[in-house]
């Protein structure tokens, strides 16, 4: 009995525990509403089902949020990810649409490389504004957020570029080893970012810069380069996300691709436990955060919650996730359930919030 309780205590102490509980609750709610929600079937050798859909649809968000985690860890923020996704998607689609044979693999790869290159340039631009010129990140990236949308529309001349390219489509809706290709890409990028930050010293150095920039500088860290690097990584992730979003519908809509994705990405990062002020970051948490957000969106559609209440629903869930995660809140609940024995003074409840 007490062993079980101990095990529970240990598990619930883990950072991912409560976000995962919320995710599970959302899935249970969906299943209750529609029992077939959980079913996953094999159709034409592809896995098909709501759960798979959720992961597939959250792939772009996961990518953007991964890049965003690193940016936030340095104490910055990147509002331009949506625009970067739109630009890279537009460039890729434009290039493919100009090919005589849209299905040629070479053409698609060239398009991807080209668009990726453009995204890297945009990342360098953001990074330069923040790290070299010293503009506050929110404003520095706001510039590209506004102008980037314009750029995306300029590339497409305000039209939706529709393409008909099987290889490109694969990125969004194709399959690999029964799994949707998008999931595979997200997995690979996640692994890459994880290895890049946690198998090297990059992660720690980013956390040092975000935790105390001046101390890091005096410890010999080239914090400018690191800052620049995270914005480039963020743009790169956004670009891949842009490919997925455009490939998903085989068309690039400069206005709609990645609209408001920056908010969702920041939300995912913060739900995952990373503080906006910078410092420690948690990639696992970010991914769970992204899954929660996408599950929420899908639930709204699946339960046909009318759009009027969808936002209220989202507000409630977001607050619930955060409350349940907040140590201060849990401490309060616990105290209410089991009032401490001797001197329970009135003022004592106040103390817990004081940051140590």
């Amino acid at each position: 009995m007490s062993a079980v309780r101990d095990r529970f205590a240990a598990a619930s102490g883990h950072r991912l525990f409560w976000p995962l509980v919320v995710l599970a609750l959302l899935i249970v709610a969906n299943t209750v509403y529609r029992p077939s929600f959980l079913s996953v079937e094999l159709k034409d050798g592809h896995l098909y089902g709501s759960l798979i859909d959720i992961v597939r649809l959250s792939a772009p968000l996961i990518l953007v949020a991964l890049g965003m985690s690193l940016v936030i860890a340095t104490g910055g923020i990147d509002l331009s990810v949506g625009s970067v996704a739109a630009v890279s998607g537009a460039v890729a689609c434009l290039y493919i649409s100009k090919q005589p044979d849209q299905n040629s693999l070479g053409g698609v790869f060239t398009a991807l490389a080209l668009a990726f290159g453009v995204a890297l340039v945009l990342g360098v631009w953001n990074g330069t504004l923040v790290a070299v010129i010293g503009i506050q990140p929110i404003i520095a990236t706001l510039i590209l957020m506004v102008a980037g949308r314009g750029l995306a529309q300029l590339i497409a001349e305000g039209q939706i570029i529709t393409i008909n390219s099987e290889p490109y489509r694969t990125i969004g809706v194709g399959h690999l080893l029964t799994l949707p290709f998008a999931i595979v890409v997200a997995l690979v990028v996640t692994l890459l970012v994880a290895v890049l930050t946690r198998r090297t010293a990059l992660g720690m150095i980013i956390e040092a810069v975000g935790g105390n920039a001046e101390a890091s500088r005096l410890a010999g860290i080239r914090s400018r380069r690191i800052t620049l690097l995270v914005y480039v990584v963020s743009a790169a992730c956004a670009a891949v996300a842009g490919f997925m979003m455009t490939a998903n519908v085989s068309s690039a809509d400069g206005n709609a691709v990645g609209l408001w994705v920056e908010l969702d990405a920041i939300l995912a990062v913060v739900i995952g436990g990373t503080a906006l002020a910078g410092g420690r970051f948690y990639l696992g948490g970010t991914i769970v955060g992204a899954l929660i957000i996408q599950t929420l969106t899908t639930s709204v559609y699946a339960m046909s919650i009318d759009p009027q209440t969808a936002l209220l629903f989202k507000a409630v869930v977001v607050i619930a996730v955060c409350l349940i995660q907040a140590p201060a809140f849990r401490a309060r609940l616990r105290r209410r359930r089991t009032p401490p024995p001797p001197p329970p003074t009135a003022v004592e409840t106040q103390k817990e919030q004081v940051p140590a």
Binding site: G158, I160, V173, V249, S250, S251, D253, A256, Y301, S304
Partner: protein, 306 residues
């Protein structure tokens, strides 16, 4: 902002008519075609155009109209982002003796003298035409016909009106039933994502009614992925008739499109000239629109501009 028209500012006395036009934004291909049409028509008609993009914000549009008044343009035209809330600024325009023309969407001012005329489509009619075609198509159906509806942006006039017109038309046949209706935000990605859920939640879907082509095109992907054949297993009706939509119709993936033409530029310029000259104009001018079946689409496609 460097400007080649700098300084011309529409000072009274120049013989060219100056038109200040405030567009909603560039949120869709349809809108861009609309803008292009206005611009080209202005050049053709020899009217100087002051164009402003409101980026889907009413505040921006009001600001733009105020600035047009300051610049003393001859005529103001705009596509209101929303219906309400224009009285104050329109009164200012009226006081400055600048006539106003509404395009594409209406306003709900009680005082009808604030603007000269309205030019645009009748969204309710578009919805009704779609519904009527469906009633005709399914009149032989004996069992229930399950319809899913992809709505436009929640609360927008086209979404509200198209839904209304469609509902009115299909009410004549009790077999026709809308089983699910969700907003897909007028985008392809939105259409696809919502359709995926429709398909999972409803084992039998007979008809899809999408409030614009883009959502319909997005839904196509979802339908194909679910292993169904668009146009056969599911009858698809959309509105707008942009080029990609017409292509899908010609390919037999869509079954019917009610046109909503963005090409109101020439008609608008006519009105501008008339209003400027002080001639009387009708209170409401509707754009010339039609409907398309796959055969008609095949015929129209080669000359389709947008």
């Amino acid at each position: 902002g460097n400007s080649d028209t700098g300084g011309s500012g529409g000072e009274a006395g120049s013989d060219k008519i100056v038109l200040g036009f405030s567009q909603v934004g560039a949120e869709s291909g349809w809108r861009t075609a609309n803008t292009t049409s206005v611009k080209e028509a202005a050049t053709e008609a020899g009217i100087e155009l002051k164009f402003d993009d409101a980026q889907q914000k009413q505040e921006n549009q009001i600001k733009a109209i105020r600035n047009f008044i300051q610049q003393k343009v001859d005529v103001i035209a705009f596509s209101p982002v929303v219906e309400s809330g224009w009285d104050t600024v329109l009164k200012e325009a009226k006081d400055a003796d600048i006539p106003v023309i509404l395009t594409d969407r209406a306003v709900d001012s009680a005082d009808k003298t604030l603007y000269k005329t309205f030019i645009g489509s009748d969204f309710v009619k578009e919805g009704r035409l779609s519904g009527e075609w469906l009633v005709e198509e399914k009149k032989a159906a004996t069992g229930p016909v399950n319809i899913v509806e992809l709505q436009g942006t929640t609360g927008s006039a086209p979404a509200n009106d198209r839904k209304k017109g469609f509902a009115e038309a299909i009410a004549t046949n009790p077999n026709l039933k809308v089983v699910a209706s969700q907003s897909g935000d007028f985008t392809r990605a939105g259409g696809k994502q919502v359709m995926e859920q429709f398909l999972k939640a409803n084992p039998k879907i007979d008809v899809l009614f999408a409030h614009n082509d883009d959502m319909g095109l997005g839904a196509l992907e979802a339908i194909t992925a679910a292993g169904k054949v668009p146009g056969k297993d599911i009858t698809i009706i959309t509105i707008d008739a942009v080029k990609d939509g017409m292509q899908a119709l010609a390919d037999g993936k869509f079954n019917f499109i009610a046109e909503c033409s963005p090409l109101l530029g020439p008609q608008l310029m006519d009105l501008v000239k008339k209003v400027h000259a002080g001639e009387s104009v009708p209170e409401r001018v509707e754009t010339e629109e039609t409907t398309f079946t796959p055969e008609q689409a095949k015929a129209a496609l080669p000359t389709r501009k947008y």
